[in-house]
Symmetry: C2
Subunit: 762 residues, 2 copies
């Protein structure tokens, strides 16, 4: 490895001081003059026609300024008259909590009082609350107009969504809003060639992103109608376009100011911004809507629930022969579930000559499906990795050997036919194979614990990006970006720019500008920002360096090739004291005596090939044989990260992903009753893992460099959040003999199974 | 001329809707949470030792939060212990109104009450109020430490300030803070060769910039000590550096947000910002200081008063033989007068083989000298153009012919030896010669009016600059700049970018970003922004166009050379319907399916040669022979503008400059009494010309293209403000026979002279 001075080092996050001292200021901390506080009137019913909204009592509440329904808001309508891209009901409430009106008031308390005083006249309608109801041809339509899947949403997060899935030709129930179908080889012949076949059906509940900071945004409007959107978004430019579309303005009249994000996890690309913008336009004053926790549970955009059946066969040598899968994703009341990426990932980790995957997305009376850190991948991995675990048992094979024998490598096809580029799945499995936790697994078993493993992969997102690297008056550098700083990405970019100059990351300021002036970047999500923007930063810094060297070469009367930068001084190689400091060069480019152009390097990327990342996890669990409670006592996370620009940040990403995976496995799940009412709308009912529920996490970084990322880096956000549910479930199987097929793994389910028939849980 | 579609057209200003409807929001309109209002405690004396400041009564005023003297503020000190770059007294008040303390309060009213309650214990000291006192070797020092001239200040506005003036070797009075000296040929021989010699001494008072919006800024501070400076500045980056220096922070911790400027005219580069920043640091809360009108008169940075003696000779053929000049500029209590540029300009408009110019800058007990639209040029032109007018009379020559015969052209030397580049002085004089107002001047005289002419020139500023041109999602373009929009400069830049794309200026958004992320540009002043940034915008737009054409060429399968942009569509030349819209191309560069790099053009300039601009003016005046009141009834302003990108904006600049010139000639003047007390600290006492005092202005645009400006443009801000005083004075001479030697031309002075000795006014 080259001797790097800045990248590959454990760097402290630039945003740490503000966050660690509680001084960071978030959207809801903004208090512009004239601010109105918005509170939503949420639907009492999961499905109802709205016959009328009586605002009079609410408007008489002191401090209440307006009660706005969809009819009062300047929201663009599509050809069906439906409001575009704004989470408000247009005559028909589609889920419990669906916003029927916004109450705007001078204080939050007044707005809450106003909400209580709004009287809505409902006509309750039939509720589609379950997958089975949605798949029943006899059921009523969830909506009057059938919606198409929103590929744009899925594409924000991963590159495989671009694939054209083959449309299913069958006659479908009306609530099926999207289908996918992938075929390879001959599925019957595949199963005929199998020595062992396993088949299971897996279910998982809707899971909430669980960010500390709820969804919220503040939209200010000036007298000319220009909007400034202060928001906790992961994707400023995408949000800008969506807001502009909704209120029918050119994008130039919408400036999105990315505020610090108090947790996003895929759920904060755009949600309430268009609605709040429309409200600000309607009243001509700044409006803040910051969801309460319950509002966020009711009207957020959580990960969808789904049901996946996997049938998997292998020959006697442990080579996979056939994979058949059926996926049904609940997309709630609007399209956008990760059905396609889940289908591709489910069949993407292993070489299997015969494959048949069918997927359906169905509409129900729940909020729209959103992205949650590796959307679709956890569900797919939970099903596939559970199935292959059972297959290993059926074959009498080693769970790791079976995976290693069949895992995909560069050139192997995905279900959609696209070949994998260089990937590190095999290397991850090998590293896990050599890890003491795997080698010594019998010791754990002897102590009554179960050991489970699972893998997960993520294709990685791509999107063009530009970055700027500017030399400032004091000889330091500023990197200007349009990407939102999440999980320390700006710190990573500081390292990349610093590397070009031989400076410390502290000498680099990284600024995310607002959309009025920022260079373009996609959303910080889908494991793509470091991969796409990082390379743009590297190119911008290299270009800034080139400009500096040209200036120095003239003044030092030396060839550029003979110069170096040491400690912020450009000098003739090996000649200390001969140089010009970066501050001196800055003075030659700015100020009235300056005669050189300002140093302003730009770099752009339009990487066509994504850099998929794989992870292999191991969990040791203890299951209380009385209560059925599962405790994870050891966790190993191996991940191919390409190149860890900031190992501390990469490990932190893995820690967080593992914790979320354990939450998904054991605790989290949004439960709706038969009327479509959410039973888990508070953190009393919806359980997030707390620190004591998470064991120490051992991380192993595998570095199979990407071809296009800065220094070989890949996006690392998604992969560590994927294998968790399957890993824990496989460990539970190891500990108890029970195959878990439903998430989360509830103690009562395990206990009931252990007390009765020990061979089938759930 | 090429057939331009956007430049050369009269474009409406992009900022007009907000300003014309009263909707623009200025610095003082900002009301962040926790804002403190600052009011200054100004010195009662023009010179005093501050023995003590009793804050107790002020601090007991309800709402008053702090009373801060220099000792309480984190202001960096220079080696003499003097506060750096902040207008606050450090133990010694140097002018009446010098800020001794800032009172910070929850409301402006409380702050004013607090100011009234602060008790300052003064020891009055000797006051140097006049040039003669300052030049008297027996006078006390104005300050304990002698200051050097601040070339940086002058250089912000013009390029000639870079010249190294020859230092005078004579033994100087201690209050002389700077000297210049230029010599050419043999001055005695020059006068010996003259057939006629005239000699006069001219004086002009200090003049205030008279902006509608007073000096003010708001500095916010976050918990980490980062400052955001919202200010009505012409020069965001310069302001950033100065604030950072003062409070001893790296520039990266200071973000200057340029707010709309309610009039600047050179006076708003930086003034109160460092002081307010120090106050915000001291109290950890946002602080707004917005001068009252009186505070602005007392503690602003007006143009300095001066005295200039000119001795000028010509031979019998009307060729100049010798010019001797003595200039004394009053720089107030700190250096920074435009002595050097005045000296160069005074001797720069005409070819004269023998020349001797001596200049002195002296310190007095007045506020520091500031820049006012063409700093030093009005005073120099008033002296020189009055003198040449007298010389024409002495020679019996025509005032215009004498100027035309001797005016400088490309290659002629300035007093500092630098040759003039291509300039349009001769062309301006020729255009004026051919103007009906000059041709028919005898008609005016027959009607009892006087006709006067004068010329003025400005070297033009230069400073490196970068501009960005970005393609947005909807196919429109955004130009991102670091220069402040003044007098419609951003509209001009929109035209430049539009020209590259065949779009209307309305399709271009021009954004001035804050210093955290903006590309560098110098201050908008000194007639340099259009010249330096305009070319950068042109280059950036051309680069953006090139990137767009490359993408289109791939998709249209055509060579770039065969493509054109028509109505926002890139198409094969002459083939309508074959093309890709800019919006389609934008979609290929942004979004998850995009596979081309974002279009992000940058352009930089480091123009080494300035583009001097000249103007020739004519005024017709009537002088009331009873009251001495002068009324300007006709005004012609000829100006070489290089190329008028927006003729409407150029003419507006000329209108404003002429109005200010007439104000300088007839109305404006800051008058101090012998104790250094300002007698004209309100608009009751300090007379700005009102609309009815300004005649219709006939503008003639001469276009001698510059070599480096966009489309040949030159800066046009300064030149129209220069010839006014001399033009009006020469017209008064023509009408009355009285040679005015003192500005402003007061009615009582003329009346007294007309009633007594008609040959010498003042």
């Amino acid at each position: 490895m080259a001797a790097y001075t800045a990248v590959g080092q454990r760097a402290k996050r630039l945003d740490a001081p503000a966050k660690l001292t509680g001084q960071e200021r978030y959207t809801a901390d903004l208090k512009p003059a004239g601010l109105l506080f918005a509170r939503p009137v949420g639907s009492t019913y999961a499905h109802a026609r709205i016959l009328g909204v009586d605002k009079s009592a609410a408007l008489s509440v002191p401090g209440v300024v307006a009660v706005l329904t969809a009819d009062d808001l300047p929201i663009s309508r599509d050809e069906n008259g439906q409001p575009v891209k704004a989470p408000i009901a247009f005559g028909e409430a589609l889920y419990a909590g669906h916003i029927i009106a916004l109450v705007l008031a001078e204080s939050d308390a007044a707005a809450q009082d106003g909400v209580a005083a709004v009287e809505v006249d409902y006509e309750p309608l039939e509720v589609i609350a379950t997958l089975d109801q949605a798949l029943d041809p006899a059921s009523a339509h969830v909506r009057e107009t059938r919606q198409q899947a929103n590929d744009e949403e899925a594409g924000m997060h991963n590159s495989d969504a671009v694939t054209e899935a083959e449309a299913d030709e069958e006659d479908l129930p009306s609530n099926v809003s999207n289908t996918v179908r992938f075929d390879r080889g001959n599925i019957e012949a595949g199963f005929a060639a199998a020595a062992r076949v396993v088949e299971h059906t897996f279910e998982s509940l809707s899971v909430h992103q669980g960010y500390l900071e709820t969804q919220g945004c503040l939209v200010a409007i000036d007298a000319l109608g220009d909007l400034t959107v202060y928001t906790s978004t992961q994707a400023a430019f995408y949000c800008r376009t969506r807001v502009a579309e909704t209120v029918n303005l050119p994008v130039q009249k919408v400036d999105v100011v990315p505020m610090p994000v108090g947790g996003g996890f895929g759920g904060k690309f755009v949600l309430v911004e268009p609605l709040v913008a429309a409200a600000a336009v309607a009243v001509g004053r700044p409006v803040l809507l910051q969801y309460s926790r319950m509002e966020d549970f009711l009207a957020g955009n959580p990960a969808p629930d789904c049901r996946i059946t996997v049938k998997l066969g292998a020959d006697a040598d442990g080579n996979l022969t056939a994979l058949q899968a059926r996926l049904v994703f609940d997309t709630g009341s609007s399209g956008g579930s990760p059905l396609q990426i889940a289908s591709i990932l489910l069949g993407g980790s292993y070489r299997v000559p015969n494959l048949e995957i069918r997927g359906h997305e169905v509409l129900t009376h729940k909020p729209g499906a959103g992205a949650y850190r590796a959307p679709g991948a956890q569900q797919a991995a939970f099903a596939m990795e559970s199935a292959i675990d059972e297959l290993a048992r059926a074959l009498g094979d080693d769970a790791l050997d079976l995976r290693l024998r069949n895992c995909v490598v560069e050139g192997d096809p995905r279900p959609n036919g696209a070949a994998w580029p260089r990937i590190g799945l095999k290397q991850c499995l090998e590293a896990l194979r050599d890890h003491p936790a795997w080698i010594d697994r019998e010791h754990a078993r002897a102590a009554g614990r179960g050991v489970g493993i699972a893998v997960g992969g993520w294709p990685g997102g791509i999107e063009p990006a530009t970055a700027v690297c500017r030399l400032d008056a004091n000889g330091k550098l500023t990197v200007v970006l349009g990407s939102v700083d999440l999980t320390g990405t700006n710190t990573t970019f500081a390292q990349v720019a610093a590397e070009s100059f031989g400076l410390a990351p502290d000498d680099i300021q990284v600024t995310t500008a607002s959309t009025d002036s920022a260079p373009f970047a996609g959303g910080t999500g889908g494991s793509k920002i470091t991969y796409t923007v990082g390379k743009a930063v590297e190119k911008a810094a290299d270009e800034a360096r080139r400009q500096i060297m040209e200036i120095a070469a003239q003044h030092l009367e030396a060839a550029v090739a003979d110069l170096e930068i040491v400690d912020g001084v450009v000098r003739v190689k090996g000649v200390p004291g001969s140089g010009l400091s970066l501050e001196q060069i800055a003075g030659m480019t700015m100020g009235f005596t300056a005669r050189h152009e300002p140093v302003y390097g730009t770099g752009s990327t339009a990487i066509a090939e994504s850099a998929p990342g794989f992870a292999a996890h191991l969990a040791e669990v203890e299951v209380d044989d009385l209560t059925g409670e599962t405790r994870v006592v050891r966790y190993v996370a191996v991940q191919d990260v390409g190149f860890a620009i900031n190992p501390a940040a990469v490990e932190a990403q893995i820690h967080g992903g593992v914790a979320q995976g354990i939450g998904w496995a054991l605790y989290e799940g949004m439960t709706y009753d038969g009327d479509g009412q959410l039973l888990t709308a508070t953190f009393q009912d919806y359980v997030l893992p707390r620190a004591e529920m998470i064991p120490p996490i051992e991380t192993v970084l595998v570095e199979v460099p990407s071809e296009h990322g800065a220094y070989g880096a890949k996006g690392v956000g998604e992969p560590p959040a994927i294998p968790g549910p399957a890993t824990v479930a496989n460990a539970v199987r190891d500990a108890t003999g029970l195959r878990v097929t439903s998430l989360p793994i509830r103690p009562e389910t395990l206990a009931r199974a252990m007390w009765s028939a020990p061979q089938a849980a759930d």
